[in-house]
C-alpha cells in the first residue's frame, strides 16, 4: 500500500483531463529498453505484519545488558517529555525552514538551540547542527584549513579513534598533513605539542574528556597554538559541561561534539547530533544552517535562516560545506532536554555521573589484580588494567548480563589488558556493586 489518497475513479478523471488512456503514457520518455521488469522486492504486507517482523528483529538484539559501555556514546535517562514533543507532526514532518513565515516554530527552536549550545560551551556562536560528533570534527578541521590557509593538522591521540579514522578517510583525496601526538598517562603531552606546532600548522585537535575519560585544562595548549597562528579545536561531551571547564573557558577557537547524550537514544549508532560553536569572527567560515533574529513588517521579533550565501544551494562549489539536511529534530530534542534539566539539572546529572564513576573506580580497584590508571583526573569514564585480556573479560561479563566496557586493544594494541568503563547517572549503587562482584568472579 502506497499511502495514496486517490481512488481509481479520481485517477480516471485526472487521466481524462490529460487526454490519456493510461498512466503508462506518462512514462514514455523512458526508452523502452531501459524500463525494468518486475523487481525482486517482496509483496507488500499489512502494518501489523511489518510491525511483528520488526519486533521479532528487535528481540534478536541484546538491548537488555546493563551498560558500562561508553566510548563517546552514553546510556543516559531521557525525560518522557522529550520524545512526546518530538513526536508532534508539526515538528517531525516539515522540511528545512526556507519559508520562514510558516516555520517560526522550527526557526525559534534553532535560535534557542544555538543559544543553549553557546551557553553550554562558553562559545560565541553556534550553527543549527551537523550530522554527528565525527563529521562535526571533520567540518571543524576543514574550517581551520580555510581560515588559516595552512594544511598541517596536529592530532592529540586522546581524540576518539573513531573520529580520527573518519578524518583520515575524508582527507584521503586532499593535501592534509597529519601529525599525531601520543598521550602520556592519558594526558596531552605539552612537550610534543610544542615540538610539532609551527607556522604551517592550521590547528591542533583535542578532546575533553578524551577517549580514555581523562579530563584536562587545555588553556595552555590553546595559547601555544595561538602563538604560531594556529587554531585550537576541541571535541567535547556535552553532559560533562555541567561541571567541566568549557572550551570557551580554555580559549578554544572551535568547539564540536556529539550531542547524543542530550536526550537521544543510542539507536545502534544514529541518528545522532553533531554540534559546532566558534568565535563570532569566524561565523562566515562556519558550515551549516544558522538561524538569526529579525523582524516582520509589524516589527515583531521573528527568526530566519541567515548567512545563506555560505551554503551550497547558493554558492555551489564555493560553499563552506556541502551539508544540506542536518539533524534538526535531534537538535530540537537536545534543546528540550536541556530546557527540562535547566541549569541545576545539568549540574546534577554531571555530578551524579562523576560521583558514580569515582565510586565504581574504587570498587574495581579493590579487586585483586585490577589496577586503575591513575595520575590524571577523569569524569565518568576511566581505564582499568585487568590481569587477563580485556576482550576476554568482556566476553565473560556478557554472560553475567553486563556490557562491561570497551576493550582498548581494538584501537591501542599495546593496551589489550585495559578496559574503558563508563558510568552514567542511570547506574545504581547496587548495579555497580553487582558489576564489581561479577568482574571479580570472571577474572
Amino acid at each position: 500500500m502506497a499511502y495514496v489518497s486517490n481512488t481509481d475513479e479520481e485517477r480516471r478523471q485526472m487521466l481524462d483531463a490529460l487526454g490519456m488512456e493510461s498512466v503508462d503514457e506518462l512514462f514514455e520518455d523512458i526508452p523502452e529498453d531501459l524500463r525494468c521488469g518486475e523487481t525482486d522486492v517482496p509483496e507488500g504486507r499489512s502494518e501489523d505484519a511489518v510491525h511483528r517482523h520488526l519486533h521479532w528483529l528487535s528481540e534478536k538484539n541484546a538491548a537488555h545488558l546493563t551498560l558500562f559501555l561508553g566510548g563517546g556514546f552514553y546510556d543516559h535517562y531521557t525525560p518522557a517529555a522529550v520524545d512526546a514533543l518530538l513526536r508532534r507532526g508539526e515538528f517531525c514532518t516539515p522540511y528545512t525552514p526556507y519559508q520562514a513565515e510558516v516555520s517560526q516554530g522550527t526557526l525559534q527552536a534553532i535560535y534557542e538551540y544555538q543559544t543553549a549550545i553557546c551557553r553550554l560551551t562558553g562559545m560565541e556562536v553556534s550553527n543549527a547542527s551537523l550530522y554527528d560528533g565525527g563529521t562535526a570534527l571533520y567540518e571543524a578541521m576543514m574550517m581551520a584549513l580555510r581560515i588559516t590557509g595552512r594544511n598541517k593538522i596536529i592530532m592529540d591521540s586522546g581524540v576518539s579513534p573513531i573520529y580520527r579514522n573518519m578524518l583520515q578517510c575524508y582527507t584521503s583525496n586532499l593535501k592534509v598533513d597529519f601529525v599525531e601526538v601520543p598521550v602520556r598517562h592519558g594526558q596531552t603531552r605539552r612537550d610534543l605539542v610544542a615540538e610539532s606546532l609551527d607556522d604551517e600548522t592550521a590547528a591542533i585537535i583535542l578532546q575533553n574528556p578524551n577517549f580514555f575519560g581523562v579530563i584536562d585544562n587545555h588553556s595552555d595548549v590553546a595559547r601555544m597554538a595561538h602563538e604560531v597562528g594556529a587554531l585550537a579545536v576541541m571535541s567535547c561531551y556535552p553532559v560533562s559541561l555541567g561541571l567541566l571547564k568549557t572550551p570557551g573557558g580554555m580559549d578554544m577557537d572551535i568547539a564540536t561534539g556529539e550531542g547524543q547524550s542530550l536526550g537521544l537514544p543510542l539507536s545502534f549508532g544514529g541518528p545522532y547530533l553533531g554540534f559546532m560553536a566558534t568565535r563570532r569572527e569566524f561565523i562566515r567560515k562556519m558550515p551549516g544552517r544558522i538561524a538569526g533574529a529579525t523582524v516582520d513588517r509589524e516589527g515583531n521579533r521573528r527568526y530566519v535562516l541567515t548567512l545563506q550565501t555560505r551554503e551550497q544551494h547558493i554558492r555551489r562549489e564555493s560553499a563552506t560545506s556541502n551539508i544540506c539536511t542536518n539533524e534538526a529534530l535531534c537538535a530540537l530534542g537536545a534543546l528540550i532536554y536541556l530546557s527540562l534539566l535547566g541549569r541545576e539539572g545539568l549540574k546534577q546529572v554531571a555530578g551524579l555521573c562523576a560521583d558514580k564513576a569515582e565510586y565504581a573506580r574504587q570498587r574495581l580497584e579493590a579487586i585483586p589484580g585490577v589496577e586503575v590508571m591513575r595520575g590524571a583526573p577523569t569524569f565518568n569514564e576511566f581505564c582499568v588494567g585487568l590481569p587477563i585480556d580485556a576482550g576476554e573479560a568482556v566476553g565473560r561479563m556478557i554472560e553475567q548480563g553486563f556490557a562491561a566496557g570497551f576493550p582498548l586493544g581494538r584501537y591501542y594494541p599495546e593496551m589489550s589488558r585495559y578496559l574503558l568503563v563508563a558510568v552514567t547517572e542511570k547506574r545504581t549503587k547496587a548495579e555497580i556493586g553487582r558489576f564489581a562482584d561479577a568482574l571479580e568472579g570472571v577474572l
Binding site: N61, A62, Y98
Partner: protein, 484 residues
Amino acid sequence: MKLIFEKSQPGRRGFVFDPSDVPAQAELPDEYLRDEDAELPEVSELDVVRHFTRLSQRNFSVDTNFYPLGSCTMKYNPKFLEDVARLEGFAGLHPLLPQLRLGGMLTQGALQLLHHAGRLLGEITGMAAFTMQPLAGAHGELTGTMLIAAYHRHRGNRKTKLIIPDSGHGTNPASAAIAGYDVVAAPTNERGVVGTDAVRELLDDDVAGMMLTCPNTLGLFNAQVKEIADLVHSVDGLMYYDGANLNAILGRARPGDLGFDLVHLNLHKTFGTPHGGGGPGAGPVGVVERLVPFLPSSVVTKRSDGTYALNYDIPQTIGYVAPFYGNFAVILRAYAYILRLGREGLREVADNAVLNANYLLGRLREHYRVPYDRTCMHEFVISASRQKENGVSALDVAKALIDRGFHPPTVYFPLIVDESLMVEPTECESKETLDAFADAMIEIARLAEENPESLQQAPHGPVTRLDEVAAARKLDVCYQPDGE
C-alpha cells in the same frame, strides 16, 4: 513569542534526578571546572511542554498542510514507522556492542535489518551492493565522490574533473569540490536536459565522472541517459546517480539499468521517513560490482550459517565515513516502509506521483509560463516571469500561497529558470487537494494582473513578511538579555 530563556524563573525545576546513592566523592580540582553555571532556562515541565507545543503550532508541516516543495518529496510519513523505530531492542542498542568479542551475536537483529535493507535497495536501484553509512543525501554524494576518487587511484588514472549539469542540486558541485574535484557545468538544452553533444564537448581524459539527477530538477527524464553514460564510460569515467528524484521512477526504471555506477538515495525523500524540520535523513550509497571493493568500512555480511557479521577487513576501502553503521533508526523506518509497500506499492508511488504532477501542471499551464513544456515526471517547474512584469515575483506568489494555507513550492531553483517555482505534489495527495492548490495558484495569477499590490503584501499573518536582509546585516544568532 517569548524565548524559553525569557520564561526562566530562578529556582524553578523541570526535571530532578534521584539523589546520589553512592558515598560523596572528593571534588575535582578547580582548574578543571567551569567558572560559572551554564545559563540554561529554569522552567517547569509544564512550561517546557506548553512552550514547545506552541512553537510547533507555528509551523506548516506535511501533517497539517499541502507541502509541494520541489525536489524534497514531502510525502506522508506513516505513523507506525515512529513506533517501530522506538522498539527497545533497537532504541536501546549501543553501537559499540558488535565490536566486543562475539558481540556480533548480540546485535543479530540489527545486522540482519541492515543487510536486508541494503539488498532491497540494491534490487530497487539495480546496484550490486549498498553502504548504509552516509548520514544524509549530501553525505552520500561526498561518499560517492570519494569512491570515484578511490576507483581512479586504483586504476592509476589522473582525473581532476566532475561534470555536473547546471540544473543539478547545489550539493553536487559542493560535494565534488570538497572531495578535491574541479566542477565542470554541463548546459541544459532547449528540451530541458543535458544532451549528448554537450557531454561530448566537455569530455576529455581528465573527467573522473558525471553526476546526474534523473529525472532532473526540472522534473524531466533524459531519454539520452544511456548514451551519456556510454560517453562517460568511454574515458573510464563513472556515472553518479543523485537519487533525490528516485520517487518518479520506482518500479519503472532502475539507475543500474540506465548506465549508472553509483547512486545515493535520500531515504527521507523516497522512502517515507520524516524530514524532521531539516533532518535527520539518511543517504545510503549503492555501487556496481567493480566499485564494491572500495566501499566504506565496515560491511555487513551474511555467513554461510545464516548469521550476520561486520567485516572490517576490506583492503581497498575508502575508510570510515560515519562513526558506525549509518543513521540506523532512519534506515529501519525506510526498511519498514519498503516492506509495507512491497513491489506493487513502490510502483504505485511512481505512478501516482507522476500522475499528480502532470494533472497539476495541466491545470496551471495556461496561467504561468512553462519553460520546458513536456510531459513531466514527479515534479515540474513553472515561472512567474509573466507575473513579474506586473511586479509580482515568484517570492510574492509563494507568500500569497501561505495566506491560502499552502506551503509554497521551492522558489528560485533550479537557477537556470528565472522566477522559478518548482512543484512536487507527491503520490499521497488527493485530487481535491491538487484542485484546491491549482485554484489558489490561478487566483494568484489573476490578482497579479488585477491587484498586484495585494500580493506584494503577502502573507498577511499571523506572521507577516520577514526582513531577511536585516537578519544578515545585523547578526543576532544567540540570545543576549538586554543590558548585557
